[in-house]
């Protein structure tokens, strides 16, 4: 629409201004709301702590999932060496699912790290700006007439106020993000509790609800690839099977009944 002129920046500016306390004299707000400033800085500190907590929780899930991936891979190999392709497939599907979750966790942890660094940076900047304001105010008072000083102090106060509002906005966004992640992490823990990443690949647990969901969720072609790779490694490719198991294969491996 012609003539609107920088609509996005206009809107976001009014948003920031809305976060600012509207006072007749902005310097009064800054000067007399020392308590408020301390509260804000305290909140930022708490916000940083929240981000760190969320990150730790996600990192714990990461390491659990990594263990699962290794375990499921081993289980798939075992199943395959016992000619249980059905079980191997189930294990690989679970592995695929765990790997997809891992990728999303990596991304979330990286996001939280950025957030953490940003909040630390903003907290320092705000502290420094508030300090500067206190110093500057005294200098201005000494240098200018009362009327001029008031104008200059007001201007500086508006700048600091904007910084406070921006820190508030950064906090709000960080909180929203960590809440979202917490919800997702909670959902994953539930899934885990429901057995999606169950330790034991119990024989005969072929067709339960979770497996059906996994069939839908996982990429079949990736599972097929994995399976083919594993077969090749175990010498069970489509070609003639050499009837020989890798060293360290389970003793219980069924004897190969193929003609020598």
């Amino acid at each position: 629409m012609a003539g609107m002129g920088g609509r996005m920046s206009v809107v976001i500016k009014s948003k920031i201004n809305k976060l600012l306390d509207k006072a007749e004299d902005p310097s009064e707000t800054i000067e007399y709301s020392y308590q408020k400033q301390m509260e804000l800085l305290q909140n930022v500190k708490k916000g940083i702590a929240d981000v760190v907590t969320s990150k730790k929780r996600l990192q714990m899930q990461q390491s659990k999932l990594q263990q699962q991936v290794v375990k499921l891979d081993t289980q798939a190999r075992q199943a395959l060496s016992q000619n249980r392709e059905d079980l191997a497939r189930t294990a690989l599907e679970r592995k695929q699912f765990a790997q997809t979750e891992l990728q999303s966790l990596d991304q979330q942890v990286a996001e939280l790290e950025t957030q953490q660094a940003q909040l630390i940076d903003k907290e320092q900047k705000l502290r420094s700006k508030l300090e500067q304001f206190r110093t500057k105010k005294e200098v201005i008072k000494a240098q200018y007439s009362a009327a001029e000083a008031q104008v200059k102090i007001s201007e500086a106060a508006t700048g600091v106020g904007e910084e406070m509002a921006d820190v508030g906005l950064a906090m709000q966004r960080a909180q929203d993000k960590t809440e979202n992640m917490r919800a997702r992490a909670g959902a994953m823990e539930e899934l885990e509790a429901a057995g999606a990443f169950d330790d034991s690949l119990a024989l005969g647990s072929g067709g339960d609800d979770i497996d059906r969901q996994l069939h839908e969720l996982t990429s079949q072609s990736a599972v097929d690839d994995d399976l083919a790779k594993m077969k090749a490694e175990l010498g069970q490719g489509s070609g003639p099977a050499p009837g020989e198991l890798e060293p360290g294969a389970p003793e219980s491996a069924p004897s190969e009944e193929r003609p020598a």
Partner: protein, 92 residues
């Protein structure tokens, strides 16, 4: 001209960049209205890059009000649609 990238920081930006910034701003809003996610991401990124590249960060001792404030860099199309179109538009 002083430009703030919300949640990131303030920059001194040469006045010559004002027209380009304004143009990008309007194009970004058009992309939001069209619901064009790729175009929105591309234009918004271009805007942020312009400010980061041509601008110099304000020092901690510079207590200035911004002339222009850009949305946070991680703004999604969904958020932008809420803020910059229809009901989200704050009347001035």
């Amino acid at each position: 001209m002083i430009v703030r990238i919300a949640t990131e920081g303030q920059f001194h930006l040469p006045d010559e960049d004002a027209a380009r910034l304004n143009e990008l701003d309007n194009q970004t809003v058009e992309a939001v209205e069209a619901g064009d996610e790729d175009r929105f991401a591309q234009l918004f990124e271009e805007m942020l890059e312009l400010v980061r590249r041509d601008g110099t960060a304000l020092g901690d001792d510079e207590l200035e009000e911004s002339d222009v404030i850009l949305p946070p860099p991680d703004t999604t199309l969904e958020e932008a649609a809420h803020d910059f179109t229809g009901e989200g538009l704050i009347p001035d």
